[in-house]
């Protein structure tokens, strides 16, 4: 079980050879499945029962340390309501990673998550790392989506998969770490089609073109 602390960002002191990689990560999923809550848990170690709904999108960053690399996530937390769908490409375009979230107590949100996965496979960069998060695992008593069903779907589509709980912090750091581990970190590996990295609009500064420094 993941610890509650968000201290993953502490850099080991005096490790000058550490590589620093930046990745753009986007959270997608139906409204109220807990996207903002997952980010808040990961970035600040907090959980707000009454987390406000997200309009448009919110942006946060968090750094995690792997053995020899420091990975900085630039996280776009998007609005879940279907109506805001048209804004989504602005955020997932050029993202190297995505977490598609559903709520284990609501079957419809799982269906919506599948649609997001499809859309990412079609429209996002082909090398994007996608993770599927079945959130609110603390409400297992009200479960409507079986673990095995989601796991099978994830396997079929080559997705990382975990059941998480923003409330208890279960698997929250872990899912981000798993993504960090899976992301290519060698020079140039993040390049290619992901070169658009953090580009939000055409004509952005070249600083955004490489993911590793």
């Amino acid at each position: 079980m993941a610890t509650n602390r968000s201290g993953a960002s502490q850099r080991p002191n005096g490790a000058p050879q550490t590589k620093v990689c930046q990745f753009k990560l986007v959270l997608l999923g139906e409204s109220a499945v807990g996207k903002s809550s997952l980010v808040l848990r990961f970035v600040k170690g907090q959980f707000h029962e009454y987390q406000e709904s997200t309009i448009g999108a919110a942006f946060l960053t968090q750094t995690v340390c792997l053995d020899d690399t420091t990975v900085k996530f630039e996280i776009w937390d998007t609005a879940g309501q279907e109506r805001y769908h048209s804004l989504a490409p602005m955020y997932y375009r050029g993202a190297q990673a995505a977490i598609v979230v559903y709520d284990i107590t609501n079957q419809d949100t799982f269906g919506r998550a599948k649609n997001w996965v499809k859309e990412l496979q079609r429209q996002a960069s082909p090398s994007i790392v996608i993770a599927l998060a079945g959130n609110k695992s603390d409400l297992a008593a009200k479960r409507m989506v079986e673990f095995d069903e989601a796991q099978a779907y994830a396997d079929e589509n080559g997705l990382l998969f975990m059941e998480t709980s923003a409330k208890t912090a279960m698997n929250v750091n872990d899912i981000f770490l798993a993504i960090a581990n899976k992301l290519p970190k060698s020079e140039g590996a993040g390049g290619g089609s992901a070169a658009g990295a953090r580009r939000l609009a055409d004509g952005e500064q070249p600083r955004s073109s490489a993911c590793c420094k």
Partner: protein, 805 residues
């Protein structure tokens, strides 16, 4: 006659604890259960609106620590419990009539009293009766939110004791009260258990009233009671609730008795003649403290926490032991107005009755920030009385209300004033009533998940009463606006109206319905992308107009408003600020009109300017994802200043509810693609003309020297575009003349108008000026040629000066 002591206290407080939920249980949605105190507060809001001559007005319901509830209400006279004298039958009839009028009123509102007792019936020397704290049963959800039983045993009806009972139980209690008034207190020396048993044995009695009288050895006395009264008592004390009289009948019968009614009391003048709610409000502003008095009187005791700790906690979270007010504490603390009277003693009597045609006094306080004015007793005294007058005259006083609201709005009447500013009038209840707010729709799911996340720090909105009402409002609005759909954020937008009109749902709805067309026309269309795009583009232009340096920086780091400002405008900031800030923003919005929000956006940027200028893309966007503290007072002031000093046409938007602009002199509309690419706004010819007349603009003519010399706008400077080096961000490069003219314009806050023969050069040149940090740059709509054909009188043939470039 009333004695002085009676007049001294005008309100009172009592306090009790709400029930604790056992353990940390969650509702089915995984969210924590609403604390009982919140539910109580939500229901009690309705009590605050009840006005009746025989009911003590509720003034406030406060939530203290540890689920404590404090109820503040009007008080007067003495309770029947305290009146030791015996009443004549006429007096009993009089008292009974007033009680039953109050009860009839409550029952008509579907409020059951249940706790009617001699201790909460107040009577003054002139024979007036008022019921005190009659809403306990109502506010506590029929007693389910409190850990103690409601009602005194001797007043409970048999069916209530057996755990049932509706409104008819109140009739029983009323009968007992009348009986007590006639033959004296009942079951005086018995413990609750035996009293309840006695009442239950009445079930077998044919005539319970007689039986009670006999039990008390008062049968003779009872027979002496007038037939009329006895008859009523017996109609009330029927075992079967369905056989009992109703208050309607009781009022009817008691009215026939024709006893001399209440002594007329002249309505007091001066301070004591003011609305009780106002008095309470001013008293608080003077430093009146309800809790302190309760503590002083021992009604709130601070016992060491260890004493109230439970002895054991079971695994399911239930606790055993640990004391916490087992029974309802019926004591009350009374408050005098001495503090307030002293504070306002120097106010001349005529000031209590302001006249509309009189010139208003200027108060020193106007110079202070609004939040301070809102806490100033004397200032609020004058403001409230004045607004009260104006509001009585609404809608005829609409324009005065607007003018006063421009100064500030007293928080106590903000709901009324907003409704007036939005032009709400007519039979709004009737209209609201007719809307179907219940039938499920596909949008319900989204509304259901959004409401528990909407301004939940506010205890009014976080309770189930708040949730239900918000949902009804949203559904009603969607139903009456079929052209629109539910966008997340509509909940936040509705919240301020609900907050201010918590017990006036129809008015909350009417306000929302008037607000959207005025400020958010077409924003909630299914496809609103063009509307939002235009709005954001306009916002960005206003930023460039007033804050060129910041705008340039943000442009350069590609920080576009789409990334952060959608929630600002879609919800008119109600999704980004807490309610206490929104009300101040909206106070200004409602007075200034739909252009203001654009400048409020700029005002926010301006407050963060230093940080933003030092930040790159990531830091900037982080800043907006977690907006730092914004000084709303300052933001409002600056934005109004910007809004008023900007030519009206520069903030023109196509998607508004305003009548279409027809006069070519006023037109500034350009195709959307052009708008999206322009950094500086366009100014209409008529705005330009009026600026010229006031000598408040500097015209930069960027046509070629040749054209300029043929004919030019009087007073303009010529900077031929072909000679400008866009890379060189230094005004001096434009030549001495132009540099001096622009500097002059900047220092005098004049507007700089680019006049050109074609749009493209005008755009590029305005861009350039913005990059040189020149504020207040705009482009003349239609350029030189349009102006020449519409206002030829502005043109002259320049006198050739040697050396002028």
């Amino acid at each position: 006659m009333r004695d002085n002591n009676e007049e001294k206290f005008i309100f009172a407080a009592c306090t009790y604890f709400a029930k604790n939920h056992p353990g940390e249980t969650c509702g089915s949605n995984g969210l924590p259960l609403t604390p009982s105190s919140i539910s109580i507060l939500g229901r009690a809001q309705r009590l605050l609106t009840i006005q009746h001559p025989n009911l003590c007005t509720y003034l406030d319901i406060i939530r203290g620590k540890h689920e404590r509830i404090i109820v503040v209400t009007e008080v007067f006279g003495k309770s029947l419990e305290e009146w030791k004298s015996k009443f004549s039958f006429d007096e009993v009839t009089n008292i009974g009539l007033q009680i039953s009028k109050a009860m009839l009123f409550l029952h008509k509102q579907d409020i059951v009293h249940r706790t009617l007792a001699d201790g909460n019936i107040l009577l003054d020397g002139s024979g007036r009766v008022k019921l005190f704290n009659y809403g306990m049963y109502y506010m506590t959800g029929g007693g389910s939110d409190v850990p103690f039983p409601l009602g005194l045993p001797r007043y409970l009806s048999p069916e209530t004791i057996l755990n049932g009972g509706g409104p008819a139980a109140d009739i029983w209690t009323f009968g007992i009260i009348l009986l007590e008034l006639c033959i004296g207190k009942l079951w005086q020396n018995l413990k609750p258990g035996p009293i309840l048993r006695r009442i239950l044995t009445l079930v077998h009695a044919a005539n319970p009233a007689e039986r009670i009288a006999r039990e008390h050895d008062c049968f003779e006395a009872y027979k002496l009671v007038s037939d009329h009264l006895r008859n009523i008592i017996e109609k009330c004390l029927k075992i079967y609730p369905s056989e009992r009289a109703t208050f309607e009948e009781v009022v009817e019968e008691l009215s026939q008795a024709n006893v001399k009614t209440v002594v007329d009391v002249k309505k007091p003048r001066g301070l004591m003649g003011c609305k009780l709610q106002y008095l309470y409000h001013w008293w608080q502003l003077t430093g009146g403290d309800i809790q302190a008095e309760l503590k002083k009187n021992g009604l709130i005791k601070n016992s060491p926490p260890i004493l109230s700790m439970p002895i054991a906690i079971l695994l399911d979270g239930c606790t055993i032991g640990g004391k916490r007010g087992a029974l309802f504490d019926r004591r009350i603390a009374k408050y005098s107005l001495d503090l307030l009277k002293a504070r306002l003693s120097h106010i001349p009597p005529q000031d209590f009755y302001p006249l509309m045609h009189e010139r208003r006094r200027d108060y020193d306080a106007v110079a202070l920030p609004k939040i301070i004015r809102e806490r100033d007793t004397e200032y609020q005294f004058y403001r409230l009385l004045w607004f009260q007058r104006l509001l009585i005259g609404y809608p005829y006083t609409a324009q005065y209300i607007r003018a006063e609201a421009e100064i500030d709005i007293p928080p106590l009447v903000r709901g009324d004033v907003w409704a007036a500013l939005l032009g709400v009038k007519g039979d709004i209840e009737e209209q609201y009533e007719r809307i179907d707010k219940e039938t499920p729709t596909p949008t319900d799911r989204q509304i259901d998940v959004d409401i528990p996340r909407c301004h939940q720090y506010c205890w009014l909105l976080c309770g189930s009463a708040g949730h239900r009402t918000l949902k009804r409002l949203l559904k009603a609005w969607l139903l009456t606006n079929p052209q629109y759909v539910y966008w997340q954020g509509l909940d936040s937008l509705t919240a301020p109206f609900l907050y201010l009109n918590f017990c006036n749902e129809a008015r909350a709805f009417a306000c929302l319905s008037a607000f959207v067309p005025k400020f958010l026309h077409k924003f909630f269309l299914k496809d609103n992308s063009a509307v939002i795009k235009e709005y954001l583009a306009k916002f960005w232009q206003m930023a460039a107009f007033h804050e060129p340096e910041l705008a340039t920086h943000l442009h350069e780091i590609n920080f576009v408003p789409e990334l952060f400002a959608i929630p600002w405008f879609l919800t008119m900031f109600s999704h980004v600020f807490p309610l206490h800030k929104i009300v101040h923003l909206w106070d200004a919005l409602l007075v200034e009109g739909p252009a203001l929000p654009l400048f409020m956006g700029v005002g926010i940027l301006r407050q963060l300017k230093d940080t933003l200028l030092d930040s790159g893309f990531n830091e900037c966007i982080l800043l907006f994802s977690d907006l730092p503290e914004i000084d709303i007072g300052e933001c409002v002031k600056e934005s109004i200043e910007m809004c008023r000093s900007s030519p009206k046409s520069i903030s023109y938007r196509r998607f508004t509810n305003e009548p279409e602009v027809k006069d070519p002199m006023d037109i500034v509309e350009i195709p959307m693609e052009v708008l999206l690419s322009e950094i500086s706004p366009r100014i209409s010819m008529s705005d330009f003309f009026s600026l010229t007349c006031q000598d408040k603009c500097c015209v930069v003519d960027i046509r070629s020297n040749l054209l300029y010399e043929k004919s030019c706008i009087e007073g303009s400077v010529n900077v031929p575009y072909s000679g400008v080096q866009l890379g060189q961000r230094d005004l001096r490069a434009l030549g001495l003349n132009a540099h001096r003219a622009l500097r002059h314009a900047v220092t005098h806050k004049n507007t700089i108008v680019i006049a050109s023969a074609e749009d493209e050069t005008a755009q590029l040149f305005s861009d350039y000026l913005v990059k040189c940090n020149v504020p207040r740059v705009c482009i003349l709509y239609g350029g030189i040629s349009a102006l020449q054909s519409h206002v030829p009188s502005l043109f002259i043939v320049p006198i050739k000066k040697t050396g002028s470039k």
